[in-house]
Amino acid sequence: MIRYIFLLVTALVVIGLSVLISILPTSVQSPEQVIDTDLAARGNTYFISQTDIFDGLHIIKNQNVRIHQGIISEIGPELIATPDEVLIDGSGKTLIPGLIDAHTHSFGNGLSDTLRFGVTTHLDMFTMEHDLHQTKAKRDSREFSSEADLFSAGTMATVEGGHGTQYGFAIDTIDSIDEVPQWVSQRKAAGADYIKLVYMPNQDYMPSLTREVAAEVIRVGQAEGLLVVAHISTQAAAMDMIEAGIDGLVHIFADQVASDEIVSLAAQKGLFIIPTLAIIASVDEQQLNVALAENPQVKARLSAEQNATLVSSFGSHLPGYDLDIAKQNVKRFFDAGVTILAGSDAPNPGTAYGVSTHHEMQLLVAAGMTPTQALSAATQLPAKHFSLQNRGRIEQGTIADLVLVNGDPTVNIVNTLDIEYVFKNGYVITISTKLAKGATLSSPLLGDFEDANKLVTAESFVWSHSDDKMANGQSIGTIKRIAEGAGDSAGALRVSAKVNVGFPYPWAGAAVGDFIPPVEGFDITQYSTLSFDVKGTAGTYRVLSFNADMAGIPPSQSFIITPQWQRIELDLAKFNGLNHKAFSGFAFVAGPGLGEFEFVLDNVQFEKR
């Protein structure tokens, strides 16, 4: 016996390891759901027969609906389809208005990702302003669009270092009460539809607007004819804002059960609340989002990015975010007559565009509202309170932004996810599956700094400072565009870096890329080299590389700077671990050696092999 044990065990181990190796997960790209943009033989004229309608307020049984060129032209029980109309059988189904998410941050593919879930309008509560005019222009058109329509606050009113400044791109802050009028007019100029302010007093995490400045923002904003809403997280902050005359709160507070005083004051003032229970559930680590990601009806419409934001978490449980208290507060305000609107706060961790709008309605029902009331909170009510014309209702003349779902969502709210058709501007949105892969860059140039006002590349990559403050370090990076560049170039980027003790592996410098989640990533496989001109404080520096799908330690390469201009060429293949199909950015940094550094960058670009 004993003489065979060794051979037997060896054989078992070898076989076991072979089997193990063969079944271990391999990195495959997951298929992704995308909207078909092929327009051939597609129209925006339909006839939906024998369907129940939720018109924004009530359910109306057994109707026929005529959609003509993107507009609902007729509704009635007796209508008959003409031979040239495309007929859709609506029996056993319910037609609801395209959903309106009253609290989003619409970056990247957000407007397209949300549309697959029947959300046809986003009320954005903080985004990058530079392409706002362009995106907004589309909402008045009834042409085919593979994106939801956007209404936005633009950037939000906050102070230097306050909430909103931590996302890696510069925003316009308010640092004294005198700046308020100018700040508000800048928002109007940038294309904001309303104003959002951040009011987080009495906490040590980050600075906040004072009550006086916040009240001034409300006063000036309303005087300019804009709605003003506020981000708050405590009852005390909510009370201050309600007293100051805020139009709406974009979160419910969950630090304590709402007092009778605040509830009755809110009801008396007639404001609305967008509780964003979906995000509170995520912070409260309820894992509801994880279950949602497993739902086949969700999976069938989910992109890789949506999946990534949906299953991610804040990583720590913060006090003051108790879902049970939040739900109680929603119920208390609602019962007192305060308007509740459905907003998800997507794509913050634990939420995803579109999916979380449905989730929010489910949570509102769990908080004690009826399915019909929750549906109104995501359709007719946000349209009414944000003065959106011809949206959120199904009646003659409204935009044919519609969702046809199986079953009756006014009986069971989860039926909103059982989507049969999504209509945008009367066009049916069809979904096809493709392999997830970043788009190719439209230009290999990342920065020549010729234009004094342009620190944004063709791909909306923004040049910004980068330092370890985001990891609680003490280093400081600053950037400034200067006039004289390499050779006869008209401009360059000056980077100052103070690398200080704090984070164990300190860095400071400049970064270019897309770092605002959800990050899509770009395919750079056609390029072989990253090259740039640089001069500055002599020493060894590093380029860090970033992926859309990567967390943890960024792949890096070092290079040497001298006081004279020189061209550096780095082999992209040597960024060990970088996924070249999902590139999202570079950082040019000093560190981990401590000290003060300064260097000037120019002509940063990819080159082909």
């Binding site: 004993i2 003489r3 065979y4 044990i5 060794f6 051979l7 065990v9 060896t10 181990v13 076991g16 390891l17 193990l20 190796i21 063969s22 079944i23 271990l24 997960p25 391999t26 990195s27 495959v28 990583g315 720590s316 164990p504 592996y505 990567m550 967390a551 943890g552 330690i553 960024p554 792949p555 890096s556 390469q557 070092s558 040597k574 960024f575 060990n576 671990g577 970088l578 981990p592």
Partner: protein
């Protein structure tokens, strides 16, 4: 079956049987690395981002235990009890005695690795091409050898009690300072430099390079250092072996 092979199989079989009959040694040895890996790569919030990185380093950690403890303490104990003297008088070859221990150690290292890989692949969502998994396994298994030599050295030089203490010093010191638990790069500069004198650092760098972890690595440099360290350990082991024989 040749006589030599047969006698080797008997020795190796006896080694394994001994281990299976005394699970109080083998279970903690196999269980601790995976417990540590689960803690640092899965349970601590945010750590999941580094699960693939830590797999490379914890794989080295996983093979150290069976090698250092299997040899260091068991050889020292057997020597204390006069078992080695008896072995020398027995017809079986000395090589068989060592060879059997090496083989059983490799088997236990492999089991330890298999458990960590299972946790990494299915609980920490580490995904790599099959060729990379295979290469990583290869590197991890081979990484057992320097530690086997280290364990032998300890076993030949120390008595049973001292071996426990010395093995622990090497096991814990090499793991922590070599960056197996926490990446070296978060250490202060002095400790980062010191890590270059430890085999664990170089082995983990090789494993990191194989697994495609981010960062610049000169694999040939690490291979050369590991080879030199292994040779030094081999020389030390042979010296210790001859010293304990001549007693």
């Amino acid at each position: 079956m040749s006589r030599v092979f047969q006698s080797f199989c008997l020795e190796a079989g006896a080694e394994l049987l001994k281990a299976f009959r005394a699970p109080e040694f083998i279970i903690p040895t196999l269980g601790m690395p995976v417990a540590f890996y689960s803690l640092f790569a899965i349970m601590i919030p945010g750590s999941n981002n580094n699960a693939a990185y830590l797999l490379a380093t914890y794989g080295i950690f996983a093979v150290m235990g069976p090698a250092i403890f299997g040899f260091g303490i068991s050889v020292a104990n057997e020597r204390d009890r006069g078992w080695l003297d008896l072995k020398r008088a027995a017809p079986s070859r000395g090589v068989n005695y060592i060879g059997a221990k090496v083989c059983s150690t490799l088997l236990f290292s492999s089991m330890s690795l298999a458990i960590i890989y299972l946790v990494a692949g299915f609980a920490a969502n580490v995904a790599m091409p099959t060729a990379t998994w295979t290469m990583l396994l290869f590197v991890h298994v081979l990484a057992t050898f320097p530690f086997i030599l280290l364990g032998l050295c300890i076993g030949f030089l120390c008595n049973g009690n001292a071996a426990v203490a010395i093995s622990n010093v090497f096991f814990l010191g090499f793991s922590a300072l070599g960056g197996l638990w926490i990446p070296v790069m978060v250490f202060p500069q002095g400790m980062q430099t010191f890590a270059h004198f430890l085999p664990t650092f170089h082995l983990s760098e090789i494993a990191l390079a194989v697994s495609g972890a981010p960062g610049q690595r000169d694999v040939s440099y690490h291979l050369i250092v590991v080879a030199i360290m292994t040779l030094i350990l081999l020389a030390a082991t042979m010296l210790a072996w001859s010293k304990q024989r001549s007693k």
